[in-house]
């Protein structure tokens, strides 16, 4: 990252830390939580889909497995949620490893890999709907007992800061991918797998490592979600909408860039809030959800058509032109 990039990132971090002090309403803090949470999950997608080119359509499965692992450990085995959190990350990582080994050994790439992940997420949803340990479609309710030792907080600002910390961790991970051998190898695999192998890269191993890392981080996100909302069911844990959101924030911000998911998530949520308010003002629109979906769709089309490298690509282009002038 350039010096300017570092300064900008440092400033953004300060702004994000100060945000709850300036905007202290519950609404503002929850909005901040949602932006950062989507940015975090988006970054876990971006590590595999953006940096390594392993486009996943079912990334929610890692989130869902993490959410269920920590929740079941708490409710059925009385494990402390902080410790259960660790197992959620391990569960996501293990699933990433399994999906990676199975699909990459079978030589599944590109669209086929994307479809496999989609299918795995669907399998997760069906299993969670039908086995007793997840309480099926009823979902699992965590008993409210807001104490820090319980990973539950009365003040939503705590979750804001927890997800901010996670977000920074994921940013750091992504930044490392831009400057380490592992990252260089993933980029090589993304750009041209044959050429990467010819240069001594064990592409199977690197891809599996990458998906394990991504799955583990994503799984950790699942726990945070359940601790905040105290409820999980199969359609939240394995719903396709979360997979789409992860991919959307990354692509809008710029897949394969460090700051892409954060920028994409910010834009998406601002657009979401605005269209909701607009929707409420329009006569005859009783539910604003479809309107924001239409706007998301239009946004995605516009990005793919005019900004294939996302908003970060736009910044980069600007900077290059400025340098030339």
């Amino acid at each position: 990252m350039t010096r300017r990039g570092l300064t900008l990132t440092g400033l953004s971090v300060l702004v994000l830390i100060a945000y709850p002090w300036v905007f202290s309403s519950n609404y503002a803090i929850n909005l901040g939580f949602l932006v950062l949470f989507a940015a975090y999950l988006g970054q876990t997608w971006n590590i595999a889909g953006g940096f390594a080119g392993q486009t996943s359509f079912g990334h929610v499965v890692f989130f869902g497995v993490g959410a269920y692992v920590s929740t079941i450990l708490q409710t059925a085995y009385g494990v402390n949620p902080w410790i259960a959190w660790l197992f959620a990350a391990l569960g996501g990582a293990l699933l990433g490893w399994i999906v990676g080994v199975l699909s990459y050994r079978a030589g599944l790439k590109g669209a086929y890999f994307a479809l496999i992940t989609l299918a795995v997420a669907e399998v997760g949803r069906i299993v969670a709907n039908s086995v007793p340990i997840t309480k099926g479609g009823l979902g699992i309710l965590l008993q409210a007992d807001p104490r820090p030792a319980n990973f539950q907080f009365r003040d939503p600002v705590w979750f804001y800061y927890i997800v901010l910390a996670l977000c920074l961790l994921s940013l750091l991970t992504a930044w490392q991918l831009t400057r380490t051998r592992f990252g260089a190898r993933l980029a090589a695999i993304r750009e041209n797998e044959d050429a990467a192998q010819a240069l001594g890269i064990d592409s199977l191993r690197e891809k599996v490592k990458c998906l394990t890392l991504s799955g583990g981080l994503c799984g950790a996100g699942g726990t945070v979600y359940v601790q905040k909302y105290l409820y999980i069911d199969p359609s939240i844990a394995f719903g396709v909408d979360k997979s789409v959101e992860m991919l959307l924030v990354s692509m809008i911000g710029g897949a394969g860039t460090v700051l892409g998911p954060l920028i994409g998530s910010g834009l998406l949520h601002v657009v979401g809030e605005v269209t909701r308010d607009l929707g409420n003002m329009l006569p005859g629109v009783s539910n604003a959800q479809p309107l924001s979906l239409i706007v998301y769709g239009a946004l995605l089309i516009a990005i793919v058509a005019w900004l294939p490298d996302g908003l970060m690509g736009l910044f980069r282009k600007r900077r290059k032109e400025a340098r030339r002038a």
Partner: protein
Amino acid sequence: MLEVSGLSKSFGGLAAIDRASLEVAADEIVALIGPNGAGKTTLFACVAGFLKPDTGSVRFLGRDVTGLPPHHICAQGIARTFQIAQPFARLSVLENVMVGAYHATRLRRDATAQAEVVARQVGLGGQLDMRADALTLAGRKRLELARALATQPKLLLLDEVMAGLNPVEVEEIIGMVRKIHATGVVILLIEHVMQAVISLAARAYVLSNGRIIANGSPTAIAGDPAVIDAYLGHGAAARLKQGPPHA
């Protein structure tokens, strides 16, 4: 150094390589020539681990490396280039070469330094920050060479690194290959540009329909009736007999 013996590879009913054998000794530059579709690239792919041969063996430095995956072959010290350049399109020239350089080191600083040296060696020193997909054909060919070289191979397999280049560019690449060879890298090259074959290689193998039909010095081969029929044609053979061009 490299011994390929009795190598065969079929696709469906078509034998792409049929019991081909060749040897490359330490400090040699050897050429592999032959008409289009003779199986040259398939042979390279078998040696480099991209294809598993049906029968036969590949030995390198006395070790059997037959059927090992590409990254193992690379770790043994064999690097290949691709006939159709395969750049990491959205990475810069430097980043492309660094991927190769990372083969020998984990450290970014070392990989950068090594990549810069190699890039300069092939004349890409002025284009380090350029995106690989902005390079000309000649630039891409050089990039192929640089990336392979950055893995610090003992044996370099060059698959038509001069195809499509103009005579000046060909001369430049010939000079580079010679310099690379002078640093102790053994070279096996597939080439159609006979000018390059003659001025570089002491020995050449001729592959036709998957079989090695001749081997020897390029000028001797040019007189071989089987080679003239299969590949060179009579006009080219006559020109080649007069010896290397004054370049």
